[in-house]
Every structure is written in C-alpha cells, then in structure tokens.
Symmetry: D2
Subunit: 134 residues, 4 copies
Amino acid sequence: MATTIERMFESHPLPTDTDGSVTAACVEACFECVQCCTACADACTLEDEDMHKCIRLNLDCADVCDTTGRLLARASHTDAPMLRAQVEACRLACVACADECERHGKHMRHCAVCAEACRRCAAACERMAAAIVP
Amino acid sequence: MATTIERMFESHPLPTDTDGSVTAACVEACFECVQCCTACADACTLEDEDMHKCIRLNLDCADVCDTTGRLLARASHTDAPMLRAQVEACRLACVACADECERHGKHMRHCAVCAEACRRCAAACERMAAAIVP
Amino acid sequence: MATTIERMFESHPLPTDTDGSVTAACVEACFECVQCCTACADACTLEDEDMHKCIRLNLDCADVCDTTGRLLARASHTDAPMLRAQVEACRLACVACADECERHGKHMRHCAVCAEACRRCAAACERMAAAIVP
Amino acid sequence: MATTIERMFESHPLPTDTDGSVTAACVEACFECVQCCTACADACTLEDEDMHKCIRLNLDCADVCDTTGRLLARASHTDAPMLRAQVEACRLACVACADECERHGKHMRHCAVCAEACRRCAAACERMAAAIVP
C-alpha cells in the first residue's frame, strides 16, 4: 500500500523523480530519524554518565535530517549540487550519530533504537544520492 | 507492533506519559503532516490558479507541526502551559490548513491527501491536549 | 536605519501590518532567541551540574521561537487564532526558559546572556499579540 | 560591541573556535537569511508572474540556513566532515537563491534585499569552511 508521502508524490503536477519511491523512502527515513534523535537526546540528558558527545550528535542529526526531509518532500526540481551536498551532510550526520549511539546501545536501549534509525537513514541517503538528476 | 517512536518512549529513563501511546501517535501525526504540507505547498506553486492562501497555510502548518512534534518527542516533563499552548496552535494550524485544502481537493489530489493528514493530526492534538499532565 | 527584515516588509506586495515594525522586532527577537537557546543548551551539556531541566527548556524554546519567527516573517495574512496561539506558546516558552536560566545565571554566564534574550523575546511576543489583526 | 551570540560563545565552557568571531558571524548571516528567504517566498506567492523556481529556492535556502545556523550555534566540537558538508550545502543554497532572486531584483525589491542577504551568507560560509578544525 502506498504511504502518505508516496500518494503526495503521485499527485504532484511536475515531479522530478518519475518513480518517487526512492525519494519517498528517504523522506520517511529522515523524519523517523528526527523523531528518534530528538527523543534520544532528551533521554541522554537524564542518564548519569557524561553523554555530551551523544547529545550533540543527536541534536545535529535531528536538525540535518529535518532539513533534508523537507527539501526532498518538495518533489519539483531544485539545484542539484546543493541537494547532493545536503543529502551527503545527512548521510554523514546519520553515520556519526549511529557510531556514537552504538557505543551506548548495550546498556541504553534508547541509543540502540536510535542507532538503527540512523543506519536506515544513512542507507536511504546513499540510495537517494544515486538518484539525484543533475 | 510497536512503532519506532513507541520503542524510544519505552526505553526513556523518565517518561511523563507512562503509557506513551497517545504522545507517540501525536508525534507521528505531526511529522506526517510536516511531510504532506511541505509537499503540498511545492505542488501548489506549480498549479495555474492563485494558490497563495493554501501555500501560506501549508507552510505555517508544516512549521507548527515540526516544532510540536519535536516538543512531544522529548518524553521528559516540560512546562505544561507552554506545551498546551503549542499543541493548541498545532490543532488550529491543522484545521485551518485542512479547511483550505479541502476547497481544492476535488480537482487537486495533493490537496485532498494533505487535508486527510491535517485532519488526523488535528484529532491527535485534541487527544494529546487531554493527556498533558499539569 | 531599517533592519534587513524591515526592508523585506517594506517591499512586501500585501503586508498585514502596515507599519511592520512590531512584527519585524518580534521576528528578530525570535531568531536571537533561537541562537542563544541553542548555544546555551550546548554549553549546559558540558557543565558538571545536572542541567536536564535547563537543556530541555532551552531546546523547546529554540524550536518554538524558530517556528514563531518563520510564521511572522511571512508578512501576508494568515489564520489569526492560530497565529495568536503560536505567539502565546512562544511567550510562555521564553518565560519558562528565562526563569530556569536565571537560576543558573550567577555562576554560568551563558545562562545569564540567554535569559536576557528570552526576556526580550517574551516582551516582543506580548507586543505582537496585541497587534494581531483578527 | 559584542553581539549576543558572540557573548554566548565567550561564556561557553569548551568552545571549538577560540576566537569565535568567524562562527558567530556565520550564525548571524544564516539566521538573517532564514528571515529574508522566508519573507521573500511569501511575497513571491503574491506576485503575478510565475515565481515557482524562486519560491522553491527561497524555501530550500531558509531550511538549509536554519540547520546550518543551529549546528554552528553549538560551539562545542562536532563531526568535522559532516559540519563541512552542511556548510557547503548552505553556501550552494545561498548562491542558487541569490542568482535566482537577482533575476527578479530590478522589479521586485523583496528579491533584491533577499539576494543581498544570501550573498552575505554565502561569503560567511566560505570563511567558515576555512575555519573548521578537522
């Protein structure tokens, strides 16, 4: 069944991506990541350990994914080099956040769940980058 | 099956909402709305009609839902009167956007899909408002 | 001399606020607050004390101010009850954050500077609320 | 006189940038751009011409600048390759938006003012990129 964003893309008057499924999957992965990273940063501030680095990467990743998701939700054509740079920043933010969250994942379940979402988003960004039309 | 944000809430060290399902549903409805309203505004700028009012309400609704979703994704306790005002602003933004999108929904499918997402989010905000602990 | 946002408002084809100076001042106060609250949350995670509550209110305030600033930067008419609710949420977020930051302001200068910005924004929101045309 | 964000950076317990003035200038340029691009997109939807491309680049630029400004407002160290990619995405978004706005600047003053803000932000991003410590 088509997701809501896929249905939005199908009804767009002039979509860049005729298929739309790669872009839609990346939009959804980005906003799942916004939710997880925002929730994880909040949980981390309540832990006893020094979680500064993890909170910082969570907050950065939430912001970068939010903007990347918004750019991709606009299905019309935009500046390709800019979009490519933003998707690459997003992939890097997700990898950095996942690496750090995995370090805490064994004893902090919120970090483990967050790391999974970041890995999914990093993979979606990689597929997205290959689909950007110059 | 638990959604990703529900799993985040289950692993939070000090959640406000012991159940978490009302908050999780509202977070998901907010970010679905961010995606739809952002996509709808983009589609609207490509239509031949004057879509100014619809674009404006789409953009406002996307921003308000984004912030409301972020506040609710932070599962710890925050200032209750502020949270209540933000959730009410979100409900109003969703109702205003849905009303306008429905006016175009018959001949613009993106507006019809967007209106549905806004109605779902307005309903989720109404349930959320009732669940905010003072 | 006119600020950049005042110059934007002067050149808008159909501004809601014929003067524009009240709205422009609120937009600027909101984005000053986004900057300070974001910086303060980051600084707080590096302090030795338990700063959870302050970080939480900083992050909430940054998000609420960001969205409020964006809504107000759109000078055309929008749904007045929604805008009023958003501006009120912003005032409450700024007051809550300022109250908490002031508790730490004597020994943490970043909290003192942040509290000042929050107070300015709360006052700007109060003036803005009175200027919203139904 | 120090700006508010400069004062925030001076009081940060562990700043990456010992000077802070390059970063502070980029944060301020980013949020000036968020304001101008948001206001310009709104004004553009009220013009008689087809402004789709300009609105699209305005909205993208506002989002990219917002996230870049937030990342830079966090004065502690973060993942350098990610930050570099985000600052480059911001520079490209500003250049693309300025190029398009300048095409309309002669008869639409909001586009002329917006283009100036975008050029300032692109230049600030270029200086910022050179200052990022690996």
